[in-house]
């Protein structure tokens, strides 16, 4: 078990290094292919040649890509100084880069934005698990009933609706039309009630989309498992139906759901872009979209890295949880 975790952790680190290198490489290679000056991309449009030259020296853009990559990675652990054009900018560890557009290090921006995205993801996750899994189980148990057909129709519609449409629709109805909620994000520490009020629409909208997917998945898995021999055995030995479903069937139903949950939660850290844009939440996704329109490459790199880390770590946690949930899985 311990050896397994160590091996997986090493794999995680290698994976993150490769993600960084690839992201780096793309922003390094594309300006080259297209003949643009990468240094000019890092500063505003009206920058004079001296400023651009300063940036080139600060970032070591003249160096080979591996040298630049090494500087970036060591900066994460040791911090780094950007020197060039007669000035030096200090970026403390953990240094995830420095935005020359906004003249600030990236890490504090990420620290600012991450709680918003996590609040969004966590709240929505609770809702969609409760809603989706329950709906899926009930549908599987009452297969072919009116409930089942209605639930599955709604679920299929749910997975076909883009979130920026349902989001705008719910804003139009509940915020603008009925005035029940006002969609301003407030930090939890400042005012928990306002935090809740500001997030409830994004939670419900995001959860609806995922609940639809989870209901479909849970129903399909449950139906498959109810046909297994061990369920028949459990029934044959006289176990009551709630025990058969709740203890025996649920345990194996959870395995695929957990897999998807890990992937989805990890992906949400970088993938809540649409929700955050629609509801104007100041999270990581919104920061990324803004960074992209500002061409703030260091910030894009920072968000990409955090998002990739979330995916990889979530997958690791899921793999470890398998052993707890599914007795058939042995880690080795």
């Amino acid at each position: 078990m311990f050896a397994y975790i160590v091996r997986r952790l090493i794999a995680v680190i290698v994976m993150l290094l490769v993600v960084t290198l690839v992201t780096f490489g793309i922003f390094f290679a594309i300006p080259k292919l297209t003949g643009a000056d990468p240094a000019a991309l890092y500063v505003g449009k009206q920058a004079d040649p001296a400023t651009i030259e300063g940036i080139r020296q600060k970032l070591g853009l003249g160096e080979p890509i591996l040298v630049q990559f090494w500087d970036f990675v060591t900066g994460i652990f040791a911090g780094r100084d950007y020197t060039g054009g007669g000035t030096t900018v200090r970026c403390d560890a953990p240094c995830f880069g420095y935005s020359f557009r906004n003249e600030q290090p990236i890490w504090p921006v990420l620290q600012d934005r991450l709680p918003v995205t996590l609040s969004l993801a966590a709240g929505a996750c609770v809702l969609w698990l409760l809603g989706g899994v329950t709906t899926g189980i009930v549908s599987a148990l009452k297969r072919g009933s009116v409930w089942d057909r209605a639930a599955m129709t709604i679920a299929l519609s749910g997975v076909s609706l883009p979130i920026y449409f349902t989001g705008l629709l719910s804003l139009a109805i509940f915020s603008y039309g009925l005035g029940w909620v006002n969609g301003e994000y407030v930090e939890f520490a400042v005012d928990p009630a306002a935090w809740f009020g500001g997030l409830i629409l994004p939670w419900v909208t995001l959860a609806f989309l995922y609940a639809a997917m989870y209901a479909r998945l849970t129903r399909a898995t449950m139906l498959e498992i109810l046909g297994e021999d061990y369920i028949r055995t459990a029934r044959a030995k006289g176990l009551r139906e709630p025990v058969v479903i709740g203890k025996h069937a649920m345990r194996s139903t959870m395995t695929p759901i957990l897999t998807i949950l890990g992937m989805d939660l990890g992906a949400l850290v970088g993938g809540a872009i649409l929700t955050e844009t629609t509801f104007n939440l100041p999270g990581l996704g919104q920061a990324a979209v803004k960074a992209i329109s500002d061409r703030d490459l260091p910030l894009i790199l920072g968000v990409t890295l955090i998002a990739a880390a979330a995916v990889v770590v979530a997958n690791l946690v899921v793999d470890l949880l398998y052993a707890v949930i599914d007795p058939r899985v042995r880690l080795s």
């Binding site: 297209t34 299929l156 076909s160 609706l161 883009p162 449409f165 970088g270 979209v289 990409t304």
Partner: protein, 332 residues
Amino acid sequence: MTAPLHDTSAAETAAVDVAAGVPAKAIEGRSPWRIAWIRLKRDKVALSGGVVVLLLILVAIFAPLIVSVFGHPPNEFHEETIDPLFSTPKGDWGGISGDFLFGVEPGNGRDVFSRVVYGARISLLVAFLSAVVAVVVGTVVGIVAGYFGGWVDAVISRVMDLLLAFPQLLFIIALVSVVPNSLWGMSGSGVRMAVLIVVIGFFGWPYVGRIVRGQTLSLREREYVEAARSLGAGQLYILFRELLPNLVAPITVYATLMIPTNVLTEAALSFLGAGVKPPTASWGQMLSKAVSTYESDPMFMIIPGLAIFITVLAFNLFGDGVRDALDPKGSR
């Protein structure tokens, strides 16, 4: 399906076995595709999805014709239809009338009907072609990984894991934003579309690759592969003439279910401003404009939203039907 698809002899033998007990009825050999088609014809829901898909394709192909009969040119301003004070359309329901079937765009009075019809072109073209890219790359890479195994498989599998760990949406926007306006002799929306197709396809292939690899792993141990090998068939022959035909069913299912996902991705990218460039019409772009106008003119949000919804739902219903029809475990 153990029999290669171009060879119906196995299905015929099975039919003979069954028919042996039943006296003298015409024996009909049915290929797996024929069986699937018969099942699909019985599935009314899937068929209606298929009909809608067909209609949408026709709309996309004949967009100029449809618009010249029922609408106004998509980029023609009709400022006389706009209330000069609020810049909202005159009349109820976003200015819907016999002249403007879906109303007009707030601000400039462009015909929403024409823009939705032209938007279908972008949406379907990008979705189809990126699915083609993903399926071709995913199939070739997956089949090679599954068949050869060893280090080839190890490398390919790691690359797929890596791509799946990438925050895709974020990355696609970043990539699109650094690609210049003219490339490979194309300019304007042509470049954007080509980039969208390549990039969406590029992030889609690992999903196909994983499935194909898994299937190939089990298929390569089958007797018919061994038989082909013992007859002196070359690697390429085995890969593409023996294995590939048996992979067509899962690949078809995945491809049909991938198209709606790609429609959503294209719309999401356009919504975030990384899709085709204005004034080329696309559904996501219309919704993105609706973010600032939905309070005064909700119709302008609802129509492109419904267009996306109907398209994705139709493809999902059809895809689910195709999956059930091609499922070898399903009832005939």
